[in-house]
């Protein structure tokens, strides 16, 4: 016994009573008895599978891995296609601008700011008398 008979020394224990109880409650001593009990316990487990959550997960791991690979492949393909489309659009826009023949006058190209009419200060100072 793990705890031995140390409790005989505990306060209030009656050694004679403890001895009687001990003899009455002694577990079977034969190894054969315990082997039989073990067999009976294990026989009762025979139709009781352990269904731990990680067991359930392990059954799905191949399907999960395949699904993850497929998802990665689809995402990669989508990204590549979008990048390719974006590049084509830029090239087409640039080409359209070059090929349009749109002319810009020299004054517009060289202007630095907004131009005001020469009489603007007088008009602003005397708007009613101008």
């Amino acid at each position: 016994m793990k705890h031995g008979f140390k409790s005989d020394r505990s306060a209030g224990a009656d050694p004679a009573l403890s001895a009687l109880l001990r003899s009455a409650y002694a577990p079977p001593a034969e190894d054969a008895y315990w082997e039989r009990l073990e067999q009976r316990v294990l026989a009762r487990l025979s139709d009781t599978p352990v269904t731990a959550w990680w067991n359930v997960l392990s059954e799905w791991r191949l399907i999960g891995a395949a699904a993850a690979l497929l998802a990665v492949a689809l995402t990669g393909a989508t990204i590549v296609r979008e990048l390719s489309n974006a590049q084509t659009s830029s090239e087409m826009a640039a080409g359209a601008v070059i090929e349009s023949g749109f002319s810009v006058d020299e004054a517009t190209l060289t202007a630095r700011g907004r131009r005001l009419p020469p009489d603007a200060p007088e008009r602003y100072l005397e708007p009613f008398g101008y």
Partner: protein, 197 residues
Amino acid sequence: MTDRPPLALVGTESEARTADLAAERALVLAAQTGDRSAFAGLVQRHQRRAYTVARAIVLSHEDAEDAVQEGFLHAYRALERFRPEQAFGAWLHRIVANAALDIARRRKVRDTDELPETLASPHRDPAEAKELRERLDAALATLGERQRAVIVLHDVEGYKHAEIGDLLGIPEGTARSDLHHARTQLRRLLGNLRSTS
């Protein structure tokens, strides 16, 4: 001076205990993945202790066997909820104790005449042994199942009050009080035990 064991011996015992715990943990982890032979290893390790716990609670050897089997079955089904950092023995024994308490409640109406025939006795005189056993059975039958369990677990198996409280799901103080009442009751009913034993 105290009679302490040499330090080297203490170290060896400690190492053996650590190795034992590691082996048990490995068995638990393997059993949790469905390894039945690992669970068989746990049954081997714990069935005797489980029996003594159950036997302390129920009134007969047969009921104790049933409680042990029920307990192991419940433990097997609940293995996924067991956290390996816990002490497996304590967890299992609590389950066995609950199974035993359940059986004891179902058997409450049993007549004391049907009580254990498998009890051993240290007395050489069969008539004396029989008489003592009958008196003890009758006295134990007057105790509540909890009081009986507490006195057997404490005075026979050497469990501490707190451990008994954990096993039976009662406060330590209740275990202490049950022990006191059980001892008083048995002493009253078996008053002349010393003269006959």
